[in-house]
C-alpha cells in the first residue's frame, strides 16, 4: 500500500481479528494493546462513593493492578485481595472471601465492596453469588460501622475480553445490583444519568460542566472517579477518598429522566447498564459515541436537547464555533497526514471518527478488544472511512509494528505504550487513553466535548508542527 493509495484510493476492505481465530497471531501476544479484565472492574469500582475493590484470586493481581493504576493516576489505589494459597485453590475460596470481606470492612468502613473475579477463581468455578449470599446471611463479629456494605460482584475472567470490557461489566453489575433498590417512599429527584465509559477524571468533571450549561446541575455519572482518582492533598488520613457516585444515586437510577451511554462500540453491545435501565425501568436511553469531534458532540447535544427539552446553550455553541474555526486554521497542516490510533475500542472509535473530520487519515486503528463491533461502529459513525482504513481487533504492538513499514504513519495516538514505536519511527506520540505512565497529568487529559476536542486538536496539530520544525535544517520560529 503506497502513501498515495492510502489517502486517495479505496483499498481492499480490511477488518481483522474479529471474534474467533485471529488469522495472523494464533500463538499469543507480543506487546499487548490491552490489560486484563479485573483492572477495568477495579477502575469502575473506584468511581463509587466509599467503595473498595476486592479481587478474588492471588495477591499478585491486586498488587500489579494497583501499581498500574497508581502510576497513571498518581493517587492511592487500595485494592484488596482474597489472597489465594495452594489450599484455597484446592478447597475453594469461601473462607478467604469471608475473611477478606471482614478485614476490608474493619479497615476501610466501605459503603460498597466491589468483588471482581480473576482467571484463577473463574477457572476454579467459584460460585460467587452463593458465597456472597452465605456471607450476607451469617452473623459477623464486626464493629457496627464496619458492617453491611453493599456487595457487588462482577465476573471478570482475564481470559475473556480486556480491561475495557471489565470496566463495562462492572458498571453494568453495579447498576443491575442497585438501581431500583430504594426504600419505599424515597423521593430522590429524577436525574439525567450518564455512563461515560473509561475516560479521564478531567473529562468526567467536564461532562458535569457541560450538562450544567444545559441547566442540568445535578447529573448521575456512573462511575465518577473525578475526585477519587484526582483529589487534593490530604489534611489527614482518608480511608476512602471523597467523591464518587453515591449508593443513593445508584438506587435512584430506576427513575432517571434519561440515560446517555457513551462509546461507539458499546452502543451495539447486547446488554449494558443503559439497556438494563431501559428494559427494566423504561428509562429512555441514548447510545452515543464518545463526544470527540464535531459530529459526535453534535449527536451528544441532540441527545441532551431531547433529554432536557432545552436548546443548545450559547456557551457550548461558542465552543463549537471555535473548534470549527481551528479546523479551518489547521486544515493544511493536517491534510493527508497518517495516524495510527490504538487503545480501548471506544476510545479508538471516538478518536478515529474525529480524525476523519480534520483531514488526518487514521490508516490503522488497533484495539486489543475482540468483540467484532469496532469496525462497524467506526464506519457507521464515519462512513467516509469505509474501505479506506485498516481496523484491527485483537491487535497488539507486535502486529502494529509489522504494519508500520508499509503504512509510514506521521504520528501515533494512544497510550504511552506506543512510545517505543514512535521513537523508533521518529514521529510524535500524542498521549491519551490508558496508561500514560511517562508524563504528568494523565488524569487531566481532556478529549470530550467541543472544548476537550479543542485541546486534543491543538495537541495533535502542534505535535506535527513541532516535528516539522525539529526536523527542519533551517529552524524557522515563524510557521
Amino acid at each position: 500500500m503506497s502513501c498515495s493509495s492510502c489517502t486517495n484510493q479505496p483499498v481492499t476492505p480490511e477488518v481483522f481479528g474479529a471474534e474467533g481465530e485471529h488469522p495472523d497471531f494464533p500463538n499469543g501476544s507480543t506487546n499487548p494493546c490491552k490489560l486484563c479484565t479485573p483492572l477495568g472492574a477495579c477502575l469502575a469500582f473506584k468511581g463509587i462513593a466509599g467503595a473498595v475493590p476486592l479481587l478474588h484470586g492471588s495477591q499478585g493481581c491486586a498488587t500489579y493492578i494497583r501499581r498500574y493504576l497508581i502510576s497513571h493516576f498518581r493517587e492511592p489505589v487500595d485494592i484488596a485481595s482474597t489472597n489465594f494459597s495452594e489450599d484455597t485453590a484446592v478447597f475453594g475460596g469461601r473462607k478467604n472471601l469471608h475473611t477478606a470481606l471482614d478485614n476490608v470492612g474493619r479497615q476501610y468502613r466501605p459503603a460498597l465492596v466491589g468483588i471482581a473475579t480473576t482467571c484463577l477463581s473463574e477457572t476454579m468455578g467459584e460460585n460467587m453469588p452463593m458465597l456472597l449470599g452465605e456471607y450476607r446471611a451469617e452473623a459477623r463479629d464486626l464493629p457496627p460501622e464496619a458492617e453491611r456494605p453493599e456487595l457487588v460482584h462482577v465476573s471478570t475472567p482475564s481470559f475473556k475480553g480486556t480491561h475495557a470490557s471489565g470496566f463495562h461489566a462492572a458498571v453494568r453489575a453495579i447498576v443491575t445490583a442497585l438501581a431500583g433498590t430504594e426504600s419505599p417512599g424515597a423521593t430522590a429527584e429524577s436525574r439525567l444519568a450518564i455512563f461515560p465509559g473509561m475516560v479521564s477524571p478531567e473529562d468526567l468533571r467536564h461532562l458535569r460542566d457541560f450538562c450544567a450549561a444545559w441547566g442540568e446541575d445535578a447529573i448521575t455519572l456512573v462511575p465518577d472517579y473525578s475526585e477519587t482518582l484526582d483529589g487534593p492533598s490530604w489534611a489527614d488520613f482518608i480511608r476512602t477518598p471523597p467523591g464518587g457516585t453515591t449508593i443513593d444515586e445508584l438506587r435512584a437510577l430506576s427513575h432517571a429522566k434519561a440515560a446517555l451511554e457513551l462509546g461507539h462500540s458499546l452502543a451495539t453491545a447486547p446488554i449494558t447498564a443503559g439497556t438494563h435501565l431501559k428494559t427494566k425501568f423504561s428509562v429512555p436511553l441514548h447510545r452515543l459515541g464518545l463526544p470527540i469531534g464535531v459530529r459526535a458532540n453534535d449527536a451528544f447535544c441532540t441527545a441532551l436537547a431531547e433529554a432536557t427539552g432545552r436548546e443548545l446553550p450559547e456557551r457550548i455553541a461558542a465552543e463549537r464555533g471555535r473548534l470549527l474555526d481551528s479546523y479551518v486554521d489547521a486544515h493544511k497542516y493536517l491534510a493527508g497526514k497518517k495516524a495510527i490510533v490504538y487503545g480501548e475500542d471506544d476510545l479508538v472509535a471516538g478518536l478515529t471518527v474525529f480524525l476523519a473530520e480534520t483531514g488526518v487519515v487514521p490508516v490503522l486503528v488497533a484495539s486489543g478488544e475482540r468483540n467484532g463491533r469496532l469496525a462497524e461502529a467506526i464506519f457507521t459513525a464515519a462512513p467516509e472511512l469505509r474501505n479506506r482504513i485498516e481496523v484491527r481487533e485483537g491487535s497488539d504492538f507486535g502486529e502494529i509494528e509489522q504494519r508500520i513499514e508499509e503504512l509510514k504513519p506521521d504520528m501515533l495516538i494512544g497510550s504511552s505504550k506506543g512510545y517505543k514505536l514512535a521513537r523508533s519511527l521518529g514521529v510524535p506520540l500524542v498521549r491519551c487513553g490508558f496508561p500514560v505512565h511517562d508524563r504528568l497529568g494523565a488524569q487531566r487529559i481532556r478529549l470530550l466535548g467541543y472544548g476537550g476536542t479543542q485541546q486534543l486538536f491543538d495537541r495533535i496539530v502542534n505535535a506535527l508542527l513541532e516535528a516539522k520544525q525539529e526536523h527542519s535544517d533551517i529552524g524557522y520560529s515563524y510557521l
Partner: protein, 467 residues
C-alpha cells in the same frame, strides 16, 4: 482524624517496636486475606529475578494480565540485546482454558524462537496453568530438542506460595543453565555478582570497582545478564549475593554442587559498599589486594563526602520510614540514612525472616516501628504517629507519602536512578535532600501549619558542593 486507625487483630503479631521486649516478629506467612498487602505473588518473584537476562525470550504462559503488567516497566538496563524489554504472552483465551494451552504454547515458542533467535527461553507458568493441567515442562523439553536452545519452565503459578517461592523457582530455572558453559580463561581472582539487577546501570558501577581491584566479574546475575555468562559462572571462585532473599537459594546450590563459597553483601551506602569490597579482598587474601580495595574506597569516598556532609547539615534529625521488598536492602538503608544524619523511625519488608527482624531490632533506635508484610493503612498510621519526613519504598507506597505531605525516594526496581555503589550514595543523598527539603511541603495542608511560611523557612542551608 475522625476514627483512630486500628491494626487488624490478625496483623498485630507482625509489628514490634525496637527497644521493647517481646517475641519475634510474625513473618514468612501468606498475607492476611483482605489486608491489602503490598506484596505481589510467586510469578512476580520469578519475573523480577529473571527479567534482566537480556538475550533470553521471556514467555508468560497464561491470560494477558501477568505479561502486560510486567512489560518494560523496570529500570534494568542492558548493554546489548533489548529482547527482554518486550512482553510475550500466550494470551490464553476461554477456549484455551477449556481445551488446554499446550498447543498454543508450543506454537508461540516455535514462532518466537524462530523470529527472535534468543539464547534461551524462560516459560513462566501463571495461576491457571496448573489448574488446566498443561504440562509446561514437557512442551519446553520438546521445543528445546527442536530448537537447540535451553527452553526452561519456571514454576511460578501465582498462588503457590509467596514472592519468595517465586525467587526460588527462578533460581531453579537458572540453575539448569549453570555448569553448561566453558570456564577456560577465568581468573583465580573472580566473582559473580548475584542479586544485582543493573537498575540504572548499577551492575556496571559495581563491576568497575572490582575490576579496579583486579578482580574479574564472570557473570552478573541477572543484571545486564547474558545466557552464555550464566552458563559459565560456575568457573568463578566466589559468589557475592546482594539481594539475599532472591539469590541465596542459588548461591547455596552452587556451593553444594560446585563448591563455590558465597558472601552476603550489599552495595547500598558507603559502609556496606566498602564492606563488600573489603570482604572480597579478605576472601582472596594478600595485603596488595586489600590496599587496592582501600584505594577504591578512599578515592570514591573523597569524591562524594563533601557533598554528603553539606546535605547532612540540612537533613540532620529528620525521620524516615522504609518499606522495601528485602531485609538486606532495609539494613543498608538504615545505615545510609544515618550517613545523611537521618533516623529510621519505621522499617518494614515484604519478605524478611525472623533473623532479619532481630537484626533490625538491634540496629534501629529504640522506638522504631518494625513491621512485616504491611499495608497502606498501617503504613499511613505509622508515618503519622512517627511524623516522618521521608518515605523510602516503591510506586505502591508513593501516594501514601505524597498524600500525607511526606517526601519520597523510590528504591524499587521501577526506578531509573542509580542508587548503588559510592556514586549511588551520592544520587541517593541528592534525591533524599531534593524531596525532604522541597518548598512544596510549606503549602500542603497537613504540614503547612508546622512549616509556617517565613522568608527563610524551608530554604536549604547547604549549597551543592559538586555537580
Amino acid at each position: 482524624m475522625t476514627q483512630p486507625l486500628e491494626i487488624l487483630p490478625s496483623r498485630a503479631a507482625s509489628i514490634v517496636e525496637a527497644g521493647q521486649a517481646g517475641g519475634s516478629v510474625r513473618c514468612g506467612k501468606v498475607s492476611v486475606a483482605g489486608s491489602v498487602s503490598q506484596r505481589a505473588c510467586v510469578f512476580c518473584g520469578s519475573r523480577v529475578v529473571l527479567y534482566p537476562i537480556a538475550d533470553a525470550l521471556h514467555l508468560v504462559h497464561g491470560p494477558i494480565g501477568c505479561a502486560a503488567y510486567t512489560w518494560d516497566i523496570r529500570g534494568a538496563q542492558s548493554s546489548g540485546p533489548q529482547l527482554f524489554r518486550n512482553s510475550f504472552s500466550t494470551d490464553l483465551q476461554e477456549l484455551d482454558v477449556i481445551y488446554g494451552g499446550e498447543q498454543k504454547l508450543e506454537r508461540a515458542l516455535r514462532e518466537l524462537i524462530a523470529k527472535h533467535k534468543p539464547k534461551a527461553a524462560f516459560v513462566y507458568g501463571t495461576c491457571i496453568v496448573g489448574l488446566i493441567g498443561d504440562d509446561v515442562a514437557a512442551v519446553c523439553k520438546r521445543l528445546s530438542a527442536e530448537t537447540g536452545i535451553p527452553v526452561l519452565p519456571v514454576a511460578s503459578e501465582g498462588f503457590k506460595g509467596t514472592k519468595k517461592d517465586g525467587y526460588k523457582a527462578a533460581c531453579e530455572a537458572l540453575y539448569k543453565l549453570i555448569g553448561t558453559g566453558d570456564t577456560s580463561e577465568i581468573s583465580p581472582l573472580s566473582i559473580n555478582l548475584m542479586g544485582d539487577f543493573n537498575i540504572a546501570g548499577e551492575s556496571w558501577v559495581i563491576r568497575e570497582y572490582f575490576e579496579r581491584m583486579g578482580i574479574q566479574v564472570v557473570a552478573t546475575i541477572t543484571g545486564d545478564g547474558r545466557v552464555d555468562a550464566i552458563r559459565r559462572c560456575h568457573g568463578a571462585k566466589l559468589n557475592l549475593v546482594q539481594c539475599s532473599g532472591s539469590m541465596t537459594h542459588l548461591a547455596k546450590k552452587m556451593h553444594e554442587e560446585h563448591g563455590i563459597p558465597f558472601k552476603r553483601v550489599s552495595f547500598f551506602g558507603i559502609e556496606d559498599m566498602s564492606a563488600a569490597l573489603y570482604d572480597v579482598a579478605k576472601f582472596f587474601g594478600g595485603e596488595e589486594l586489600m590496599d587496592k580495595a582501600r584505594a577504591v574506597v578512599r578515592d570514591e569516598v573523597a569524591k562524594i563526602y563533601p557533598q554528603l556532609r553539606a546535605w547532612r547539615d540540612d537533613l540532620h534529625g529528620k525521620k524516615a520510614a522504609v518499606y522495601v521488598g528485602g531485609a538486606f536492602k532495609a539494613f543498608s538503608l538504615v545505615r545510609a540514612l544515618r550517613t545523611l544524619g537521618m533516623r529510621t523511625a519505621v522499617v518494614g519488608t515484604q519478605t524478611g525472616d525472623a533473623d532479619d527482624y532481630n537484626t533490625l531490632r538491634e540496629m534501629c533506635d529504640p522506638g522504631t516501628i518494625i513491621v512485616d508484610d504491611s499495608n497502606p493503612i498501617e503504613l499511613a498510621k505509622f508515618c503519622l504517629e512517627q511524623d516522618v519526613d521521608l518515605f523510602i519504598g516503591g510506586v505502591k507506597e508513593r501516594p501514601i507519602a505524597y498524600k500525607l505531605g511526606i517526601g519520597f525516594c523510590d528504591h524499587n526496581h521501577e526506578r531509573k536512578e542509580c542508587l548503588a555503589g559510592f556514586v549511588g550514595m551520592l544520587n541517593f543523598g541528592r534525591e533524599v535532600h531534593a524531596s525532604v527539603m522541597s518548598p512544596v511541603w510549606n503549602f500542603v495542608p497537613r504540614r503547612a501549619a508546622k512549616h509556617a511560611i517565613t522568608p527563610t523557612a524551608g530554604a536549604p542551608k547547604s549549597k551543592e558542593a559538586v555537580a
